[in-house]
């Protein structure tokens, strides 16, 4: 694999490389850390809920917290986010409340989207967090359109869209990159190269040495970054978002990371990857790495206490959300159209009256 420079900030000795340090304040860094810990606690709880049959499915992001949280922190008010199903951390970082996430995975009346979609498919218009779709990479051209609209109105905003290495194989990826280059749009393509699309390794998605180099073909800069280094992610995505807001166009960022758990709760990763590979990456755990740095700077006192408190926060959120009632039957027929047409009204009435 050819290896152009990989942006990295957190050094093995627990210090930060001053050349690329994004220069966050201590409270900001502590907030990044706490969100990473909260994200992991949420993922662990959600997987446990699935295993005990209380939710149907879940896609964990364990191992990729630096990507989600670092990128999420680079998003400013007014920016838009078009995430993939694994990037709930971006929303969490942007203020999408934990309670709303828990509600969504349960799919009862505590879900703002009314139990319509599987877990991991959230959205919140207020923070420009766009509805997640299951088909891979369909959100990328949407990000382009939102960026175009903003540019047309003269808004100085950036659009962040996230996806995996498998996503770069799709037609949607190529269409979106090409349009972004041609129209010089403020879109940041954040690819989390976690090395696998379910079982298929990245070498099977592309014959190029890097994913970042694909940017060249569309007239965009391509950047590689250490995906387990939250400060490096913050720096790379922050710079790209700044460039986009300044009217200088889009960027493709390839973050080199690893999903430590399964692809989803339906997946058995032992079929396609070795224990050695997984444990080598476990050593690079993004949360532990950041904790070491923060401890060195005396910003963080007790990681174990932080983790316990995150777990407790999640437990409470689940307890509250689980007590909400089921979504009403009639809601199935709402929001299909702006107004309920005759055929849906008929179908609804027959279902509710038990005659259908």
């Amino acid at each position: 694999m050819s290896d152009p420079e990989i942006l990295s900030v957190l050094r093995p000795d627990g210090t930060a490389d001053p050349a690329h340090d994004p220069g966050l304040s201590d409270p900001e860094m502590l907030s990044l850390y706490r969100h990473m810990v909260l994200l992991r606690a949420f993922d662990e709880k959600a997987v446990a809920l699935q295993r005990s049959g209380r939710i149907g499915f879940f896609v964990p992001s364990t191992g990729q917290e630096a990507c989600s949280i670092g990128a999420g922190h680079a998003v400013c008010e007014g920016d838009w986010i078009f995430p993939a199903y694994r990037d709930h951390g971006v929303g969490l970082m942007r203020g999408y409340p934990l309670a709303a996430m828990v509600g969504q995975i349960l799919g009862n009346t505590s879900d703002a989207t009314r139990g319509r979609q599987m877990p991991n498919h959230w959205c919140d218009r207020a923070i420009h967090l766009v509805s997640v779709s299951s088909p891979v990479a369909t959100q990328l051209p949407h990000a382009v359109g939102a960026a175009y609209a903003a540019k047309l109105r003269g808004e100085r905003i950036a659009v962040l869209t996230t996806f995996g290495d498998g996503g770069t194989s799709t037609g949607d990826f190529h269409a979106a990159m090409n349009f972004t280059g041609v129209f010089r749009l403020p879109v940041v393509f954040f690819c989390e190269n976690n090395r696998y699309a379910i079982s298929v390794p990245v070498e099977h998605q592309t014959a190029t040495g890097t994913l970042a180099e694909k940017a060249r073909a569309y007239g965009l800069p391509g950047v590689r970054v250490d995906g387990n280094d939250v400060l490096a992610i913050r720096k790379a995505v922050g710079d790209a978002m700044d460039r986009a807001r300044a009217g200088e166009g889009g960027t493709l960022i390839e973050a080199l990371t690893y999903r430590m758990g399964p692809h989803s709760t339906s997946d058995d990763p032992t079929v396609y990857r070795s224990d050695e590979e997984v444990s080598a990456w476990r050593e690079k755990d993004p949360i532990r790495r950041f904790a070491a740095f923060l401890k060195g700077r005396a910003v963080l006192a007790d990681p174990a206490a932080e983790e316990a408190s995150a777990r407790e926060t999640v437990r409470k959120a689940v307890e509250t959300a689980e007590s909400a009632p089921a979504v009403p039957l009639s809601s199935m027929f709402e929001d299909v159209y702006s107004e309920i047409p005759w055929h849906l009204a008929e179908q609804r009435d027959s279902l509710l009256s038990g005659k259908g």
Partner: protein, 324 residues
């Protein structure tokens, strides 16, 4: 004969056909090492090697388009799409290319591809893992559309599809993958395409159902029997071209028909079957043709049990027809 699950029967058909004919290849996302997301291709990579069991990049256009070229040049590709909901990026390749290759080249080229895709709801998959898209493909000239409901049919129909000369959309009811078991003949086994199956004989009403709705139909028919109504269940197995003769002769005898499917009602395949019955059996009908279907909404996650037709809803349609 051994009792196996429907998914195992599909695996068996693939292995049997690959052994019989070296031009049969399997391709798709995760079909190799992982054995497919539902394990339909488990063990094939080991037996037949990476030349014939191909993990592709994540691109449905590529999978379908490449399969078409493989078929035009002497191979027999069986492509897996992980969920029928993810075929749409390749829709153009299917409806404009694969389906029309024979017609537009006056038979010089054909695209005998088998596209396998898990379909339908009932597994808490939300709308991106639950849709029933058969009507789109039935509406497209040149495609054969198949949906098995038993392990033996899954093996026999898939084997026939692989040997056939036409492109086949092979929709697998994922809700039945591991919930039904049945006897499956070992070795080569064919169920002809285009021939339906009488699931249960009866004299009072014809109930037409396919895929995961067949077990629902059976429950409803059992309940109707206890009310003295003899329901004949027909599973067309090949949805298109349809075994219209089997349906026609049944409806002429019973005088009543209900179509049961989980796809949305409007322009669903039930509408076509209902029109066919009306055209061909009008003077024999004692009641309008009934339809029990999914609703015209996107497939809902939390309310999927209410969305999917169940034996009670089916029984109500049977009663309504009887009481007409």
């Amino acid at each position: 004969m051994a009792e196996v699950t429907l998914i195992k029967a599909i695996n068996d058909a693939l292995a049997t056909e690959m052994t019989r004919d070296p031009s049969v290849c399997v391709l798709g996302e995760d079909v190799g090492l992982d054995g497919g997301v539902f394990r339909a291709t488990e063990g094939l990579l080991k037996r037949f090697g990476p030349g014939r069991v191909v993990d592709t990049p994540l691109n449905e256009v590529g999978i379908v388009g490449m399969s078409i070229g493989m078929a035009m040049n002497g191979l027999r590709p069986v492509a897996e799409i992980e969920f029928s909901d993810f075929i749409y990026p390749a829709f153009d390749q299917i409806v404009s290319e694969m389906s029309k290759m024979r017609y537009r080249s006056a038979g010089q080229f054909t695209a005998a591809v088998v596209l396998r895709a898990p379909s339908g709801g009932g597994v808490r998959g939300g709308h991106y893992h639950s849709q029933s898209p058969e009507a789109y493909y039935i509406h497209t000239a040149g495609l054969v559309v198949v949906m098995p409901s038993t392990p033996a049919d899954a093996k026999g129909l898939l084997s026939s599809a692989i040997r056939g000369e036409d492109p086949v959309i092979f929709l697998e009811p994922k809700a039945l993958y591991r919930t039904v078991k049945g006897e499956v003949p070992q070795g080569e086994y064919l169920v002809p395409l285009g021939v339906g199956r009488i699931v249960r004989p009866g004299d009072d009403l014809t109930l037409i159902a396919w895929g995961a709705m067949v077990p629902v139909a059976e429950k409803a028919a059992a309940a109707a029997a206890s009310e003295g109504v003899g329901v004949e269940i027909i599973d067309p197995r090949t949805l298109w071209p349809l075994d219209i003769e089997m349906i026609e002769s049944s409806v002429r005898r019973t005088g009543r028909a209900v179509v049961l499917h989980e796809a949305p009602r409007t322009c669903g395949f039930g509408a076509e079957i209902s029109a066919l019955i009306q055209e061909r059996c009008f003077l024999h009908l004692k009641a309008p043709v009934g339809r029990v279907t999914g609703f015209d909404t996107p497939f809902p996650y939390a309310l999927e049990k209410s969305y999917l037709p169940d034996p009670e809803r089916t029984l109500r349609a049977i009663r309504a027809s009887m009481a007409f």
